[in-house]
Symmetry: C2
Subunit: 209 residues, 2 copies
C-alpha cells in the first residue's frame, strides 16, 4: 500500500492517526497542498477529486477519501477495532463519527475556507472553484461554539466520544478541535469534560502525528 498524505492538513491526519492506532506502517507520499500540487496534472491521475488522503493498494487501485480508507483498513486488519465490534458499538461509533465530522470538521472548514486569504476561489475542497461567502465563515464560527458544547456534553458521562473505548470518533473529534485552532477557537475553560478527554487522547503517541 501507499498513502498520499499532507502533513499540515486535517483530513489526512485523521488517517495517519488511524493507521498508527492500528499499529500499521504504510509508505507515504507527501503532497504539497500549500503549493497547490493537488491541482497539477500529475495528481489528477491519482485522484480526480484533487484531495488527500488517498490510499493506493498494491494492485494500483485507489481509495480517495477518509471514510473509504478507514473502512478498508478496519476490514483489512480488524484489531484494535476502531469502528466497533458489536452491533451497538458499531452503531454508536458511526453515529458519533458522523456528528464529529458534520458538526466539527465541517464547521471549522466552513469558518476557515470562507475567510482565509489562501482559500479565495476555493471555498470548498475539490476540483471546482467556489467563491468565499463571508456569512458562511461567521456561521462556521458559531457552529464551532455549539460543537464544543456538544462535545462537552457527550463526554460528561463517558471516557471516549462513542463510549468506553477509543474509536474513530475520538480521532475525528481530536483533529476537529486542533483544526479549530486555525480559526483561533479553543475548547473553553468551562468545557471541563471535553478538556479532560482532550488531555487523554492528546497524550496518545498517535496524536503526535
Amino acid at each position: 500500500m501507499k498513502f498520499y498524505d499532507c502533513a499540515p492538513a486535517p483530513s489526512p491526519r485523521r488517517v495517519r492517526i488511524f493507521i498508527a492506532e492500528k499499529g500499521m506502517e504504510i509508505p507515504t507520499v507527501e503532497v504539497d497542498l500549500r503549493a497547490h500540487e493537488q491541482h497539477g496534472d500529475a495528481f489528477a491521475t491519482i485522484n480526480p477529486h484533487r484531495t488527500v488522503p488517498v490510499l493506493e493498494l498494491d494492485d494500483g487501485r485507489r481509495i480517495t477519501n477518509t471514510a473509504g480508507i478507514c473502512a478498508y483498513l478496519e476490514s483489512f486488519q480488524a484489531r484494535p477495532a476502531l469502528l466497533g465490534e458489536t452491533p451497538l458499538e458499531k452503531a454508536r461509533i458511526a453515529e458519533m463519527e458522523w456528528r464529529m465530522e458534520t458538526q466539527g470538521m465541517m464547521a471549522v472548514g466552513e469558518a476557515l475556507r470562507n475567510r482565509a486569504r489562501g482559500f479565495r476561489g476555493r471555498a470548498l475542497t475539490g476540483a471546482a472553484g467556489f467563491e468565499q461567502i463571508p456569512e458562511l465563515a461567521e456561521r462556521g464560527l458559531r457552529r464551532i461554539d455549539l460543537y464544543f458544547e456538544e462535545l462537552d456534553s457527550i463526554l460528561a458521562d463517558r471516557p471516549f466520544v462513542a463510549g468506553e473505548r477509543f474509536s474513530i470518533a475520538d480521532i475525528t473529534a481530536l483533529v476537529s478541535v486542533d483544526f479549530a485552532g486555525w480559526v483561533k477557537k479553543r475548547l473553553p475553560e468551562q468545557a471541563v469534560h471535553a478538556r479532560r478527554w482532550y488531555e487523554s487522547v492528546n497524550a496518545r503517541p498517535s496524536a503526535r502525528l
Copy 2:
C-alpha cells in the same frame, strides 16, 4: 425496535429503503416535521438533536442518525449486505456513500433550506436556529449540477454507484436525486448513464417507500 420516521423527508427515507432492502419490518412512529413536532417537548426526550430518523432498540436505547442506524442494522442482520463484504467492497461503498451524502444530499439541503420560506430561521437541521444565506442557496444549485455530472461519470462503467452490487450508496444517490426535485433540479437528458441507473433503482419495490 421502533422507527421514528417522517414520510415526506429525505433522510428517514434512506433508512426506510435500507430496512426494506434487508427484508425487515420495524414498527414505525410518524413524526410530523411540517407541524414542527420535532421541536416540541415530547420529541426532545426522543432525540435532543431534533431530527429524524431515530431507531429505538428494545431496551430503550436510541440511535439518532442515518449513519448509526444503518451500521446497526447491517451488523444486526448481515444479508443482503448493503455496506459490503470484502475489504475492497466495504471501502468502495463507504467512499461512495460519503460522496453521495456530502456532494448530493448536502448540496440539495443547502439549496433548499437557504431559500424556501418554510426553512426561514432553520437553515440547518437540528436544535439551533440559523438564518438563511441566499448565496449558499445559489451555491447549492451549482453543486447539484456538478453532482449530477459526477453521478453520470461514476455510472458510465458500472451498474451501481459502488460497483457490481446494490448498496447504501445507491440508496443515498436515489434519495438525493429525488430530493433535488424539491428545488426543481432533475437529471439532465445527457446524463444517460445516471438515467439508466435511476430507472433501474427506481423500479425496485423499496423505492416506492
